[in-house]
């Protein structure tokens, strides 16, 4: 077997036993790895709905065929489980080096079931797995826990105090990176699992090592030459988007009541670079290095990403960069997701402003925020309410119309009323309000290319294509940011060129063609590594006959499988929606089109996906995707 260890472990924390989990080579080929392989394991694990915080729920940590292969940006790994925030399948992707170490430990994935009677860590070394007491680590924050674990040159994965207190959006932290979304840390906490360490010397066989090496050299060159992955992301990191998002009305501001923040420059990537940047710091095997190391409050710490700047900055009318850096640091220390925390605080501020919840919070006042990270993590005082997230707060205090979440997961910092495709992506994403799982169509709608964000035309087809592609890239084990290099440089660099303006105008018109091609992967039975290098990489590593068509089909298979798991968890078509604020309230009073026109896109989306009117994949779709026999 090429590209994989061919070994998956199932660790039962209730009794400390370890078993091999059988996975056929056919399944590896169909699902590859990452979130898609995890969805397959979770689908097979249960017959009915499972509660997130229960002994039954499992954690699935997966690597991918490209993990450890020296492919660019391939050190990421995935954690999937049933989310305590949404009750649906969540997959949380994380950088750092843990994935690399897990694969070197001899496993493609680990499945963690049951619940330990006491605090433990899992130690994996060269296929040897042991469950060890971690009572001395309980109650410690994430950096101290990692320090106490020692384990130099080993992969580490830990929760903080928030995970121990079952905060519904508790994160898992690895080095300085977070698997933040959907509360995977709370599932660790429920299982009394403080962390995992892994290392080993296993190597996987490669199908065509020499060609793979040459392909990587070309790919790295391409990433370095591209204006987005070679210039913008290394120069400003994801924080570099703040300014453009503001001008494009895309920056979530004051609990999503606006897309522009007067003080945006104070929280921008430019300010971060000019006033705080020490150096770039990214994942291993990455030529982009989008991460930041910054200096603030007398310390050198991880710099905030775009999402954190948006949700803890503009969304709270907080213009204090130092405060955002500190909050970001505290959230990582306690182990909570900055996106959901910021969004929940924004909602609580609006409840307070409207007199619906007397909580002392006020837009533009950041004085209470630091103490709230601790109170939320420990579920003390109003922190106990905030620990439940936006959806549950709205059920208790009201304000559902301006509770900004989709299916229970708070949306990212992109305000979708200026980007219809992003709105559709949020509404249909399997994770809930996730920009990446939603397809990140904003990359066409003003952040990358300049296709009009106002039109709904063609957006359903492009959203599906991008959702499937992101799913496949993630399953292969690449960072999603590598996909930006797919956009032809001249289209990105020359927005004022007449030909480029013509192409931007024409892209929505080709939606029909994109939708047509989607169901005929044999039309893309080829590889074009200069456009999409990932399928060719997978082919060279695994030997599978991977083409652009079959690669996108793998993504589509994963997307549909996740949908089926979600339907089993109780998801309905009616859940594919957005909060009323985004559907009915104009973002700008002078623009009657500044709402998300979801009803103009959703029906077409279902149709192209091959789902019925209730959003359920049809038998024909499941058969085409080879998911039928699994049902």
């Amino acid at each position: 077997m090429f590209g994989f260890n061919g070994k998956i472990a199932k660790i039962n924390l209730t009794d400390g036993t370890v078993q091999n989990y059988p996975m056929t080579e056919e399944s590896y080929e169909l699902y590859l790895g990452g979130k898609t392989l995890a969805a397959k394991i979770i689908y097979d694990a249960f017959k009915d709905k499972v509660e997130a915080l229960s002994d039954e729920n499992i954690l699935v940590i997966t690597t991918s065929p490209l993990t450890g292969s020296t492919s660019p940006c391939s050190s990421r790994f995935n954690i999937s489980t049933i989310s305590p925030l949404t009750g649906l399948l969540i997959s949380s992707n994380c950088g750092g080096s843990f994935g690399l170490h897990l694969k070197k430990a001899g496993y493609d994935a680990i499945i963690i079931s049951g619940k330990s009677p006491e605090a433990v860590i899992i130690d994996i070394e060269n296929q040897e797995i042991s469950v060890k007491c971690a009572k001395h680590l309980w109650g410690k924050n994430t950096s101290e826990t990692q320090e106490l674990l020692g384990a130099k040159n080993r992969g580490k994965l830990v929760i903080g105090i928030a995970g121990e207190h079952l905060v519904r959006y508790a994160a898992v932290i690895s080095e300085e990176r977070a698997a933040g979304r959907g509360g995977v840390g709370a599932v660790f906490g429920y299982k009394n699992l403080k962390g995992i360490i892994a290392s080993g010397k296993a190597t996987t066989e490669m199908f065509d090592k020499e060609t793979f090496k040459k392909h990587n050299v070309k790919w790295i060159k391409q990433l370095k030459a591209h204006p987005l992955t070679g210039r913008q992301l290394p120069m400003y990191g994801t924080a570099g988007l703040v300014s453009m998002m503001n001008y494009r009305n895309l920056l979530a501001t004051k609990n999503y009541s606006s897309g522009q923040f007067e003080d945006f420059e104070k929280i921008s990537g430019e300010t971060l670079a000019e006033d705080h940047l020490i150096k770039n710091k990214g994942c291993v095997t990455c030529p982009i290095q989008c991460g930041r190391q910054v200096e603030a409050f007398g310390k050198v710490v991880k710099g905030p990403e775009l999402e954190t700047l948006g949700l803890l900055g503009s969304n709270l009318l907080n213009n204090d960069m130092e405060s955002i850096i500190r909050l970001n640091h505290l959230c990582d220390e306690y182990g909570i997701d900055t996106i959901t925390f910021g969004s929940t605080i924004g909602f609580a501020m609006e409840l307070s402003e409207k007199g619906m919840w007397d909580n002392g919070l006020k837009f533009g006042d950041s004085t209470l925020l630091e103490i709230l990270v601790e109170k939320t993590s420990k579920r003390e005082g109003i922190g106990n309410e905030l620990a439940e997230g936006t959806k549950r707060l709205s059920e208790k205090f009201g304000g559902k119309d301006f509770a900004i979440h989709v299916k229970g997961l708070e949306t990212a910092a992109y305000e979708p009323r200026a980007a219809q495709g992003m709105g559709l992506g949020y509404a249909t994403s399997n994770r809930g309000g996730c920009h990446l799982n939603g397809g990140y169509l904003v990359v066409l709608e003003g952040l990358g290319l300049n296709v009009s964000g106002k039109t709904t035309r063609g957006k359903a087809a492009y959203t599906i294509m991008f959702q499937d592609m992101m799913e496949a890239v993630s399953s292969a084990g690449s960072c999603l940011f590598t996909t930006y290099a797919m956009l032809p440089s001249f289209l990105v660099e020359k927005p004022n060129n007449n030909m480029v303006r013509f192409i931007n105008g024409a892209i929505p018109l080709f939606g029909g063609l994109v939708g047509f091609i989607k169901n005929k992967p044999w039309l893309m039975h080829f590889n074009l590594a200069s456009v999409l290098p990932h399928p060719y990489s997978v082919r060279l590593v695994t030997g599978y006959k991977m083409t652009i068509g079959s690669f996108l089909e793998t993504g589509e298979r994963g997307y549909n499988l996740e949908r089926i798991v979600n339907i089993r968890q109780g998801l309905k078509g009616a859940d594919d929606t957005l909060p009323k604020r985004l559907l009915k309230e104009l973002q700008r009073s002078d623009d009657p089109n500044s709402i998300v026109k979801l009803d103009e896109m959703l029906g077409t989306y279902y149709k192209i996906r091959g789902w019925d009117k209730d959003g359920v994949p049809t038998q024909k779709t499941l058969r085409r995707l080879k998911l039928m026999k699994d049902r």
């Binding site: 204006p227 453009m244 660099e493």
Partner: protein, 82 residues
Amino acid sequence: MFEIRFFGWIRNEIGIPKLLMSERTVIEALEEIIKSYPQIDKSHLMQSVLFINKKPVVGKQILTITLKAGDELAILSPVSGG
């Protein structure tokens, strides 16, 4: 006087966040920047994304719109990835 603000790699090239200019068209303002800041890559500047008073400016508008006292011209380089 109107204000010009720079964002993205164009700001890195020019080395300043903003400058003031007297009334003129957008294209005249861009030409003046190229003259005064020779370190800037001309094609980068001409292909920047432009906004006047937070509204996008495209195509022929660059030649025709005159910037007046109190206006803001924002010049941004393309970005993505979050």
